[in-house]
Structures are given as structure tokens and as C-alpha cells.
């Protein structure tokens, strides 16, 4: 049943997202062709130079709007599907509530990741086209090659662990932020019937500020503590300990996901308050 739910969620989210994604990539290409003119030392007519600078600015803004559009689209679908009139239909479907939540969560996380990839691809396209003269040179490619080799000489095979850890952490942190927003929307819907969206935004803003501050303080303190301790370690222990720290952080993010998921599931299961 989860498969069917996912299919519908994907279809609904993909409906407009692909258009925005293609526009973003197009803006990346346009910015790429504008960069050489904007930064050229040659005697270029001021109007042409100004238009290319505006084009780059519009492209950057457009890519930013695409990012915001994706996030808003995901959460509007979550809200409309579960807490407005549509909610009566959704919750009468012959599926477990966990499946509904899983479907929303998986589709939201995958679309957020896809959005990040599109933004990354758009920026990379702009840079590759814009600075092609400097990038596609033997010297630059050799420098990249040397940098990779230098990193490898420090990390050895641990580089693969770091790459896997980075991917896993990215997915887990995306899941946390998605679940956190789901929590805020659901909590706002359980406590009020009016102005739910504004209440959800307010709750998100306050809760996010509190948690961000706590984690920043933790990061500053623990960062200095860990770096001091790492200095006292022998060099051959550096990579195993770093891997273990990454594992510890990953398990911690899974732990937070577990707690946020349970809270979300509990609210949908026991505290549902439809309009």
C-alpha cells in the first residue's frame, strides 16, 4: 500500500516541480554564458555588461526561489492532504497511519534531496560554462588531481568512509528538518482550528531558534573539546577516531529522527483535529 501512496505523492509533487527544475537549470546555463561578458577586461558596451550582471543576479534569485518553492510545495501538500477537507478522505483510506506518514516523509525527503541536486547542478553548470577558459586547462585539472591525491594520502581508504558518512548525514539531517516541520504543522493543527498555517510558522520559528541556539552552543564547546583531544592523539589514530565521531553523530541523528517520528505518529494517531 505504501507503494501506491508514494506513487500519488510523487505524481502530485512532480506536477510543477519539474518545470521549476528545468527553469533553474536554464537559469544556470544563462548565468554561465553571462559570466565571461560580465567579468571581461575587454571594452564591452556598458549596457551589455549591465544586462549580463542583471542576468546573473536574476539567475541567482531564480535558483533561490526554486529552493523556496520546493520546500513550500512539499509542506503545503502535507498540510492540505492531512489537515484540511482532504484529510477526511486521506484518513479514510484503507491504510495504516504509519504508511501515510512514511509516504509523506519519504517523498518530502527525496524531493528535498532532488532539489539540492538541481541547485548544485545549476550552479556547477554556471561555473563550468562561465569559467570554462580557466577550468578546462591541463594546469587546473592537474591541480584538482593533485588535491585529490593529497587528500587520499592523509586519509587512505578512510576517504570512502567519510564519503558514505557525509551522504548518510546529509540524508539524516534532511529527514530531521522535514520531520521537524511536519511536527510543527501537526502540532499547530492539534491545538488550533483557526490560522493553523500562521501558528505552524510561529511554532517552527520559535522552536527552530531555540534548537539552533542549543546546537550552536554545543557545537562551539564540543568542537574545541574534540579538537583539543584530537591534538593529543597519535597520527594513526586520527582517521579511526574521526570515523567513530561521524558514526556517533549519525547515530545521534537517527536517535533524533526516532523521537521526532514517534511524536509525529502519536499526534496523527491520537490528537488528530481536522477542520
Amino acid at each position: 500500500m505504501l507503494g501506491k501512496l508514494l506513487k500519488h505523492d510523487f505524481k502530485a509533487l512532480f506536477k510543477y516541480w519539474w518545470i521549476a527544475a528545468i527553469i533553474s537549470l536554464g537559469l544556470g546555463v544563462a548565468a554561465g554564458f553571462s559570466i565571461p561578458i560580465a567579468i571581461s577586461d575587454n571594452n564591452i558596451p556598458p549596457i551589455l555588461r549591465a544586462s549580463t550582471i542583471i542576468a546573473i543576479f536574476v539567475a541567482i534569485m531564480g535558483i533561490g526561489v526554486f529552493s523556496a518553492f520546493s520546500v513550500v510545495m512539499i509542506f503545503i501538500r502535507f498540510y492540505k492532504n492531512l489537515f484540511t477537507d482532504e484529510g477526511y478522505l486521506t484518513f479514510t483510506l484503507p491504510v495504516k497511519r504509519a504508511s501515510i506518514l512514511n509516504s509523506k516523509l519519504i517523498s518530502a525527503v527525496l524531493f528535498t534531496i532532488a532539489t539540492t541536486f538541481i541547485i548544485f547542478a545549476a550552479i556547477l553548470t554556471a561555473l563550468l560554462i562561465g569559467f570554462s577558459k580557466d577550468i578546462f586547462t591541463v594546469r587546473f585539472l592537474n591541480e584538482i588531481h593533485d588535491s585529490v591525491l593529497e587528500i587520499y594520502s592523509h586519509t587512505g581508504a578512510y576517504i570512502y568512509i567519510y564519503i558514505i558518512a557525509a551522504v548518510l548525514l546529509y540524508i539524516s539531517i534532511t529527514t530531521i528538518s522535514t520531520l521537524f516541520l511536519f511536527n510543527c504543522i501537526t502540532f499547530a493543527s492539534t491545538i488550533t482550528k483557526k490560522a493553523r498555517v500562521i501558528t505552524a510558522i510561529a511554532i517552527y520559528y520559535v522552536a527552530n531558534s531555540v534548537f539552533t541556539s542549543i546546537f550552536q552552543i554545543l557545537f562551539v564547546f564540543s568542537g574545541s573539546y574534540i579538537s583539543d583531544k584530537m591534538d593529543t592523539l597519535s597520527e594513526n589514530m586520527y582517521n579511526p577516531i574521526t570515523s567513530l565521531i561521524l558514526l556517533c553523530v549519525f547515530v545521534f541523528t537517527v536517535f533524533i529522527i526516532g523521537i521526532l517520528y514517534t511524536i509525529e505518529y502519536y499526534m496523527l494517531d491520537r490528537k488528530l483535529n481536522l477542520l
Binding site: 564547546f221 564540543s222 574545541s224 584530537m230 592523539l233 577516531i241 567513530l244 537517527v254
Partner: protein, 301 residues
Amino acid sequence: MKKILSIISSVLIALTIFAVPSFAKTNDTVAFSDDFSYVYYNGTRYIATDSRYFYINDYAEPIEVTLTKEQKQKIKAMSITPYDSEFYLEANYLLNNNTSVYCTYINEYYYKHYQNAIEGKVTTVYLYDEDLTFNLQNLLQNKTSILVSEDSEYDCYNIMYQFFDGDVEVDLGVVFKQDDKYYYLDYATAGIEFIHGFDFSMIAEKNVTVYEITDEESLSTLDLALGNSPETRPLFDDNTTMLISGFLLIFIFGIIPLGLLILFLILALRSKTKYRKIFLTLSLICILQIAVFSVLFFMIM
């Protein structure tokens, strides 16, 4: 008419005479002295100097120089790197015996300023921040000698002088703290080589000649820099910071998961519905979290 023509032609001849050498000057021919102590480049004289005392954040490509017949008798090839040709350039000579000579040169116009700076004949010098200035003479008062060892840890601050509109920084010495006293190590007096990005541990166990700083004004500037003044003293010292961070780490990654583990286990035992599965899963994640953190904690400690 004849008179006018003769004036015009004499002017033209005069221009040609002066123009030829000036055109010749614009090519990349460079003159240099036999002992390489100076070079002429673009009509300006540059004097050889020791570039260890200053740093220019600039990049320039070397320029191959066309040698004259006389010069070719002395050297095989030469290149000039005009980093900031208004102030400084580097020259590489390839001698006929295939040895190369590397020299750095300062524009003669600035050479005197530079010499004055490294000889300490300047008044106002500054610490890493231009607002923290000293009167150099106040730092050069009480000469003494102290033992510097590799194990000692110092807070070191370069003392610098700026000129060439602030584009060139000349390092003159370093201020550091030992046994609650501040000392100024003047490179010229101590006779030690300048080390850029100064690191005392590079001077292995040796007696160095320094100046103990007793001047009130200089001491208050140093207190500001080192965070010893009431306004800049940090809220927590290093040990307290370490203690707080250690406690926070153990609390968040160890104690909270342990407390939640107990809570989830109790909830799992009490619930008989689908929530039992959820609480058991959460308990397992808590156990995993505690296990990984414990291994890490014991490995680091």
C-alpha cells in the same frame, strides 16, 4: 621660411635623438651591476636587499630579459619578476657556469624607509591590529637575556611597521609572555633570522637577548591584545571551557540517551498496542547511541 624649416627640422632631429633611447628603454633590457647589488628596470634603480623581513601578497609572472652582448659575457640568462614593480622585484640570474643567483630588490625611492624600519629607526609600530600601536623606543628599554626552550608555550605577537601606503608590512620583532612578564624580541638585536608566521618552538633551547617591557602604555596595549584587560578577558578560562564542553558532550550523548532508554523501556513494558514496537525501536537506538559514544569516550580519554 627657411628659418622656420630649420627650426622644425632641428626639433625633429632632437626628438629623434631623445626618442630612440626612450623607445629602447621600453623593451625588456635590464641593466645590473657586476656584483648584482642593483638593477635598472624601466628606468628605475632597485637595490638588493633581504626580503625575509617583509611580505607582499602579490603574484607576478617572471619576464625573460633580453641580454646585451656585454651582459652575455657575464651571464647566460636572466628573468625579472616585478611583484609590485613600484616597490619590489625579484631577479634570477643564470651564470655562465650554470649556477643560478637569486636576488630581491627594492625600489631605491623606498629603500631608505625600509632600511630605517629594519634598523629600528621608526617611531610607531603596531601589533597584528593597526589600532594596537606602540612607540618602538618604549619597547627597547631594559635589555636582558632569557632562555627559550622548545617546550615553552607562548602567546606571540609580531611587531610590524607599515609603509608604501600600508601595502608593505615589515616585521621587526615579536612580543611574548614568559613568567607573567612581557618581552620584546627585536630581530636585529637578537641576531636571529626572521621566521614568517613566527613560532617560538623553532628556536630550540637557547638564550636570546630580549627587552623586558615595563612601559605602562605598552603594557596596557598588550593586556588588550592578550585578553588580560577587564574589557577583553574571556568569561571562561580554558580549563572551565574544557570542563563545560566535556560535561555537555557526556550529558547530550550519554546521559540523555540513558534517561530516555529507561523511559522508553518503561513505556514499552506498559503499552500493549503498536506503540510497544515503536518504543522498543527507540530503546534500541538509545542503546546503539550509548554504545558508540562509550567506545569513542574511552578511546579519546
